[in-house]
Symmetry: C2
Subunit: 303 residues, 2 copies
């Protein structure tokens, strides 16, 4: 088991879905990722919070044994995102974004974090993602997420970053924007030529498509009969993905990436079953294993 | 091997996709279905064409040993559909529909068709679907497709039909419209309570979701790097589905339906690779088997 480093946002969200609304709800990529990955290994967070951040929300992470030494607390308000989902739960509509303390975030790694073997650079400015990577000594696997805003505004920096990472984890829209190709089957193939050994495309309720070593690996999502709030599903997927890999004792290969994708799906299926991070709070390992068994039945060629 | 009966449209299409445009191109559910299913078994068509129908288009079906005794030729023009696809190849935008001879279509089965064991009622007026079913003696498996137009205008007739069929094969939009539920995972479950033993939901580039006997079966589509024209993919899927089942010597069960879904996917992947029915014309059995092997690699948990 190796420790996992994540850099990303820690936020309060206001979310409206067809099933209801929550305000001041815990969110942010680093929170979703670490709550998911902490089921597998110890997670180290690099992020920033404002002085409004609630101590009970700190405790949620502490209870999962998540290392918070890299979580800076600065004067001001915590990052706030407001979004809604209409019927189509695959796509969030952003209503408001207040960067607040996140605006001047400069990720500084505690010295103890430099030996991290698994590094996930969640969706932040690619220049900050570079800066984090500069501070890690010799990682075994580095994964990166991004978003259309950075693809448009900082493509060069992002392209340089892709030469430094092992796995790109993005959604369909990001695959299309990066490659400038609509067909995602050919697009993810093209993206592996930019540097990453594997590209993992998250497809929301449709699962994922992975491409590495000249081959596809595609599977559906775990079927969830009642989706309450899909916020954070992608970062939760990344958490399960890194969580699985961090438990390996050896270097990773394509087989491992495949299993990691499945764990990403499983963890994401818990997140969408409740608002904010609530779907993740009561998940334990036996539940993950039970869902994995159920998942294998859903995709089994023979009953 | 048993003979398969299909009732549906025979059409000339005008299709525009991001890759080009075709005019007066062979189309219609019965054509796509029978060209697909004829790789597996003998197909019997029930449909109507106008006196403008080209003899070379008849020959395409004859060359596949498709039985055309049930194809009525009447004065007037053949059904014409014009549609386009923008970037999102999952959804056709209808520009024009001219029913022509299809408007007064009254399906009459030749006597020799009454013993058909596999019956596919492609998307036509549910009252005509009933009428076809009335003329079949003792089918082994009946499948039905429909569209939002009939769901809105003839729901009662459609609901009665669902009590008479074994398998409902529809797309996501139709599942939602029928069940009045957005989440398709719970929606297809609900639809099995309306009569069919299995509901097969076609998800375009994302594959399919099947529900029967209280269990899901979900797999992705075969990854196609260059999609030229998705028209007819759903009917081609149905053709592979029925084709596979018609080759069974015994009664069918859930296992068979699962394999049939995979054959639906495989056949559909050929159709989308060219305009109109062209993607299906040169497919032979070794190609289907080769693609099946490739498909199993794409979804394999272990390399």
């Amino acid at each position: 088991m190796s420790e996992i480093l994540v850099v990303g946002s820690v936020a309060y969200d206001t979310i409206t879905t067809p099933t209801g609304k929550v305000d001041h709800a815990l969110g942010g990529s680093a929170n979703y990722f670490s709550l998911s990955a902490s089921l597998y290994s110890r997670v180290r967070i690099v992020g920033v919070i404002g002085d409004d951040y609630d101590s009970t929300d700190i405790k949620i992470l502490q209870d999962r044994n998540i290392d918070l030494k890299g979580l800076q607390k600065v004067p001001g308000s915590t990052f706030h995102w407001e979004g809604k989902y209409e019927k189509d739960m695959n796509e969030a509509i952003t209503i408001d974004t207040q960067l607040n303390v996140f605006e001047n975030f400069n990720p500084e790694l505690p010295k103890e974090y430099r030996d991290s073997k698994y590094v996930f650079l969640a969706n932040i400015d690619p220049e900050l993602q570079h800066r984090v990577l500069d501070q890690v000594d010799n990682p075994t696997l580095v994964g990166v997420d991004t978003m259309n805003f950075w693809i448009k505004s900082k493509l060069d920096s992002l392209k340089k970053l892709l030469k430094r990472v092992d796995v790109l984890l993005v959604n369909e829209g990001e695959v299309r924007a990066l490659s400038n190709t609509w067909n995602t089957v050919s697009a993810i193939k093209e993206l592996t030529e930019w540097g990453p050994r594997a590209v993992v495309m998250k497809r929301g309720e449709y699962g994922f498509m992975m491409y590495s070593e000249g081959k596809y690996f595609i599977l559906p999502a775990f079927p969830v009969e009642k989706v309450i709030d899909p916020t954070g599903a992608g970062d939760t997927f990344a958490g399960g993905f890194f969580g699985y890999l961090s438990k390996l004792n050896s270097d990773w290969n394509r087989e491992d990436i495949k299993q990691a994708c499945i764990h990403g799906c499983l963890m994401a299926s818990f997140t969408v079953q409740d608002f904010s991070i609530k779907g993740l709070l009561n998940v334990d390992w036996p539940q993950v294993e039970a869902r994995q068994n159920e998942y294998y039945k859903v995709i089994a060629l023979r009953d």
